[in-house]
């Protein structure tokens, strides 16, 4: 049995058979996870300094030199590393007086903060499977982002109190700007225009208060109100679509969830993309009181938008990127700033960031070549063992060696 680290569902029921140099057969793994594992055999990184192949020791030494000499280093990524590696990373940031940030600070971080600090009630995905009769996917499309979400937890499986499952007992509601693959499966789809989620929330609250909604199709909104009122145990899975739409007005979602909880039970399980983003947020929150965008500069812990990767990239003089490809995923201005500074990339696979990096340190792929533990999107800790023997160092070992060198 293998744990798939392709997304934050961390599926534990994967059966994998290996032949020399390839995966010969794998069962129960979705196409996303299959692609993730197949990438083990293609486009692997090599230790490099300025594009020239070197030994791992030389690459680590050079990376340590860059970080040691930097006044404002930035440590970015962390969503694709295990808890153990993240813990070492936070210690390294403290030692360097660096700014540390994850891949979610400028998108879903605001939602995760509410969940981790208890402002939004949450539950595990196992609770969703066992008890939930209504699942709301708001601004998220699990069929594409987390392919097995509906089949493992939210809609199709039989649960402890939901033996009749999707056929009779479960309702799935999708609120999205387009008819996504998930919306096609669910009978209740509500289309909102981009940026219209705040009005939609106001309408749902109005309907729950017994008022006529001002926004949307009144009849359908009242139907939605009836479904929500009849729900025994509901789960809301907000995605990037909702967070991007309401942005700083996340308290609207809090108000809605509080209103729903006056009537029945509703929980929020945020849709997290990378396999251990929540783990990093949880660790940093326990350590510093903030879940991302933290600076240890001058020995003090400071938090704020000025420490998020978007702002910090402009002011940093060296950057360590681990398990992420910011040059592809971040806005052009930020990517350009990052590309100008000496970049250290720790990644098992080749990406635009590793191509542009001054120092590349190859790492073992978690789930296959290295073991550890990670926190699933719902807060459950999952441990996994390596199944392939590899000479490559894990993120944790690389960071420990970097720390020692510094």
């Amino acid at each position: 049995m293998v744990v798939c680290t392709g997304c934050s569902l961390l599926c534990e029921d994967i059966e994998l058979a290996l032949a020399t140099g390839a995966i010969s057969q794998v069962k129960n793994l979705c196409r996303k996870g299959h692609g993730h594992f197949q990438a083990l055999f293609t486009e692997r990184t090599m230790p490099k300094i300025d594009g020239q192949e070197v030994s791992v020791d030389q690459a680590i030494k050079k990376a340590a030199d860059i970080l040691r000499n930097a006044k404002h280093p930035l440590l970015y990524g962390w969503s694709n590393s295990t808890l153990e590696a993240q813990r070492v990373g936070i210690d390294l940031a403290r030692k360097l007086g660096a700014t540390i940030d994850d891949t979610m600070s400028f998108c879903r971080g605001i939602l995760m903060e509410r969940v981790l600090t208890g402002k939004l009630p949450t539950c595990t995905l196992d609770d969703v499977r066992n008890f939930a009769d209504t699942s709301i996917f708001w601004g998220s499309d699990p069929s594409n982002s987390h392919p097995r979400h509906l089949s493992r937890f939210a809609y199709y499986p039989r649960g402890e109190k939901r033996q009749k499952s999707y056929e009779e007992e479960r309702t799935c509601i999708v609120v999205d700007v387009r008819k996504s693959a998930t919306a096609k499966l669910c009978s209740n789809y509500f289309r909102v225009p981009p940026g219209g989620d705040a009005d939609f929330i106001a309408s749902v609250i109005a309907v729950l208060d017994g008022k006529i909604p001002k926004y949307g199709d009144k009849k359908r909104m009242i139907e939605l109100g009836t479904i929500l009122r009849k729900t025994e145990y509901g789960a809301i899975s907000p995605g990037l679509g909702l967070v991007s739409s309401i942005q700083d007005r996340i308290e609207l979602l809090e108000t809605l969830v509080a209103k729903l909880n006056e009537i029945t039970t509703f929980k929020v399980v945020p849709m997290v993309e990378h396999y251990n983003t929540r783990g990093f947020n949880q660790l940093l929150l326990n350590d510093t009181g903030y879940l991302n965008s933290v600076s240890f500069h001058s020995g003090q812990v400071t938090h704020g938008p000025e420490n998020s990767v978007i702002a910090a990239a402009k002011g940093c003089d060296a950057a360590l990127v681990i398990g992420s490809d910011p040059l592809s995923s971040l806005p052009f201005g930020t990517a350009k700033c990052l590309a100008r500074v000496p970049l250290i990339a720790i990644d098992p696979r080749r990406s635009l960031t590793t191509d542009a990096a001054k120092v590349v340190i190859p790492s073992a792929m978690y789930g296959l070549e290295a073991g550890g533990s990670a926190i699933r999107m719902d807060g459950v800790k999952i441990e996994f063992e390596p199944i392939v023997k590899s000479d490559l160092l894990s993120d944790e070992q690389i960071l420990k060696r970097l720390k020692e060198e510094i």
Binding site: D13, I14, E15, Q25, V26, K27, N28, L29, C30, R31, K32, G33, H34, G35, R129, S143, N144, P147, R148, L150, S151, R152, F153, Y155, Y156, P157, R158, G159, Y166, A181, T182, K184, L185
Partner: protein, 152 residues
Amino acid sequence: MVGAMEIYKLLPADACKECGYTSCMALAVALLNREKKLDDCPSLQNPKYADKFNKLKELLAPLEKASETGLIIHPEKCFGCGNCVVACPVNVAAEPTRCGIGLGPQGDKVILAVEDGVVKCMNVKECRRFGPNKIMCNACTVTCPSKAIEFV
């Protein structure tokens, strides 16, 4: 997926009954159910129907890939979500503690399983759609978000 009416429109519609059926519509249904072949229609072999014959051949080509229950899987569309695996009543009955609660199957008694990232069909005889007394179950097709599974 192709329908009986589409097939009928391309048949000679001369009701010659030489195929053993009383009408061309009945033959169209038989062709759809793969009980008869195009060669069983003598009129269609006439050179004046050559165009229609070729079109029918093209139209019926995907049916050759179908299983005995008429299930067609398009692997290029499937993304291995496993909705069909968990929704299939036969799978749930075979492995209630696995497929029943959303996990992938371990045994070999199931009909559908995800292998190498795409769904695979096996044990066709266990399917509710198998045999003359079939039940028109469609749990696997209605739960597919990408329409990678369909029945003839």
